[in-house]
Subunit: 252 residues, 2 copies
């Protein structure tokens, strides 16, 4: 399996390229329109054939590259079931297994940041599995829940019941990071994510000896989320309508 993390500096968005190096089939997750040339050049240089673009959700902070990539490659553009768009090539259901050669991408419904959101569990070869967590679970954080049908209650339930139940060694690759972190693990987030768990100080040996974590109560999480008082993303008025039309700036 080939697995590449790509970064958009302006919006701090991560895009992921996944491929089977035997069949040369590939998928790209959460591409950003400004980086389409970069991403297609890489796909060309690696000799890959792109099967589909996959969205974790309808983004509010950048315009998706899916429409442009679909136009230029003929690949499919897939979005989570119930996403607010009518131009996708297809919708992905909870539990659905997408295939990229021998690599499997399993969709895990993880609503709450928006009312339609999937994480994608990537299984390829003998290495640890990777989960692309979109904006549901970030490194030591999580996506906001105050627009696009977000719900703190749902986010808590889906993250704790569907992501924190994955093996601790599962690598966590989020859709964004604003502090220069690139990857984490489920075990780390269960122990150190301050939105979901109590993270009081501990010595290194206590940390190593402790497999346990103290999950916050659902009501505590909801209170944290309801008191973030964040400004709207700079591009929300432009990005959401564009992304509902697969990245086109005005409706087709």
């Amino acid at each position: 399996m080939l697995f590449r993390q790509l970064f958009d500096k302006e919006s701090s968005t991560y895009t992921y390229l996944i491929a089977d190096l035997q069949t040369h089939e590939a998928a790209i997750v959460d591409p950003v329109v400004e980086n389409v040339d970069r991403d297609l050049k890489l796909i060309h240089e690696l000799g890959l054939s792109l099967l589909f673009c996959l969205e974790t959700h309808i983004h509010a902070d950048h315009i998706t590259g899916t429409g442009e990539i679909r136009n230029r490659t003929g690949c499919k553009g897939l979005v989570p079931e119930n996403a607010h768009t009518n131009c996708a090539s297809g919708f992905v259901k909870h539990g659905q297994m997408l295939k990229v050669g021998s690599v499997t991408i399993e969709a895990i419904e993880t609503h709450g940041h928006t009312d339609s959101h999937m994480a994608y569990l990537v299984k390829g070869g003998s290495t640890d599995h990777c989960v692309l967590t979109g904006d549901a679970l970030l490194i030591r954080g999580c996506g906001r829940t105050d627009f696009q049908g977000g719900s703190a209650e749902t986010l808590y339930d889906h993250v704790t019941q569907r992501l924190f139940t994955l093996p601790d060694s599962t690598l966590v690759y989020p859709a964004h990071d604003y502090r220069g972190q690139t990857v984490s693990t489920i075990g780390e987030e269960k122990r150190w994510n301050p939105r979901f768990v109590e993270t009081d100080a501990a010595t290194p040996s206590q940390i190593r000896d402790s497999g346990s974590h103290r999950l916050r109560q659902r009501a505590d999480f909801v209170q944290i989320m309801n008191n973030l008082n964040l400004p709207d993303p700079k591009k929300i008025m432009e990005a959401v309508p564009a992304n509902e039309h697969c990245g086109k700036k005005s409706a087709a």
Copy 2:
């Protein structure tokens, strides 16, 4: 082995954390002073014990975090042999093997960006080896050669003779990237790095079938490097003197 790539958005610098998860020993490569809190927090959360900070070279575009980390942890600060500093805990020689538990870090002298520069080949477990290439080899590029005793001739010789001779599957982790790329491979750079090779267009199947690459002549490379006409790094007047004093802004 634990391997973490960390990013400094302002200077587009990558810092690397390497650890043996059995012994909990760790090393950090090319830390940035503004991120020391972030990096030490991560080391604490992972339950690691930091043995040393390692520099690929004396940087001109950011101030190293090594002095600050050494002060706060008591670890060693190691720099390449002949680096222009007299405050390092030790100097690393070409071919030297550093140990972080069962992980081996082999120093590879790769001068030319500056007159003292090491790449570090990281070997841990059964996964592909990683080479931290500093500013010698960047993804589809290389470091400039017009200050700090740089030499395009030397850079060409060391990259082509000491990095391009590593196995094609070796993962390339540079000290910087300005286009959101996080990792490459030696095979990819031998085929697609426009500074070192001719990269004419090819079809995907030609790319896959072609194991060969057309290395530029040394004189062509030197001509490219001598005609870049880059402005000085914004922080060079502050960063180089500070880094010659292990990150202190004025000489101790």
